[in-house]
Amino acid sequence: MTDMRIEVSSDLPPVGTPPDGKVPVWVWAVSAAMIGSAVAGAGWAGVPLPVALIAAVVLLLVLALANVRRFAPVRRRPAPPRVERRWIVTGTGIELTEAQAVSGWRWPALVAVDETPAAYVFRQADRRTVNLPRAGLTEEQETQLRTFLSERGLLI
């Protein structure tokens, strides 16, 4: 399979990059438990429930606003520009050519592949990703690529 050579061009923006700042479920659960415990505890200590609830909401708002700068990095970034990119997939690895940059990854650098409707998303060990859009692939190329990826144990 080392003679594989697949060339794809696309101006679609990359997809499938996992949001690095996504809050895990357990963090939300612990946070909710903390707030619930505070309101219930205040009620048990004699504070009227409506007062405890309003005080909790006000305090949370104040703290969230005080922390708004910390939230800033996760604000939605502007959509990346649509620029023509060209991928060459061979038995050695993947080469990506953009207007002002060329990047390359040998296969051992890529540890897994996620299939999305729009692209094959290759994952590196450090969680960064490389997107290969499916739109430009012929049926034959896609079959060839899938066979290659399966043989390498990359398709999950």
Binding site: A56, L60, Q124
Partner: protein, 162 residues
């Protein structure tokens, strides 16, 4: 210009340019941790005569402090990925900057950069709405360092709007 060197960046190298992912992933713990501390203190102070209020207040302060400590620990435990620390070869020429390892290569032509900044231990190069690139200064000789800074200045990248 042709400057070529190999260098391994340590964890400290990234401390000023990377925010650990856990800072963002655990941000609700900051809010609810302080919520527990402030609410607990308020209960203890406002209803200080009540044994129940004192107990609940102390419990909330402790729970809130625990959340803040857990968050601090998680952020400190969030290490730089191993691949960032591996030995890497940089090549700086008049046409491009290239950074490569045994398994990866990234070559960026200068026309794709919009700005650059000099930090104590590295040059930070900002691509046009794309990724940032760093060039360590430690392996550069004083002459190379000056040559590269002059090159960036000559291209109008130093001090340009990011």
């Amino acid at each position: 210009m042709r400057i070529e060197f190999t260098f391994s960046r340590g964890p400290d190298y990234f401390s000023t340019i990377m925010v650990p992912g856990n800072v963002l992933r655990t941000r609700p713990l900051w809010v609810t941790g302080w919520f527990g501390v402030v609410a607990g203190l308020a209960l203890a102070v406002l209803l200080g005569g009540e044994l129940r209020a004192l107990g609940v207040g102390a419990g909330l302060v402790l729970a809130g402090a625990a959340l803040l400590l857990v968050r601090t620990w998680l952020i400190r435990a969030d290490r730089v990925p191993e691949s960032f620390l591996s030995s890497r070869r940089w090549l700086l020429t008049d046409e491009y900057v290239e950074s490569r390892t045994d398994l990866t290569v990234a070559r960026h032509y200068w026309a794709g950069f919009r700005a650059a900044a000099i930090l104590d231990h590295l040059y930070m190069l900002f691509c046009d709405r794309g990724p940032m690139l760093d060039v360590p200064r430690e392996p550069l000789t004083a002459e190379q360092d000056e040559q590269f800074a002059a090159f960036l200045r000559g291209r109008g990248l130093l001090g340009a709007q990011r």
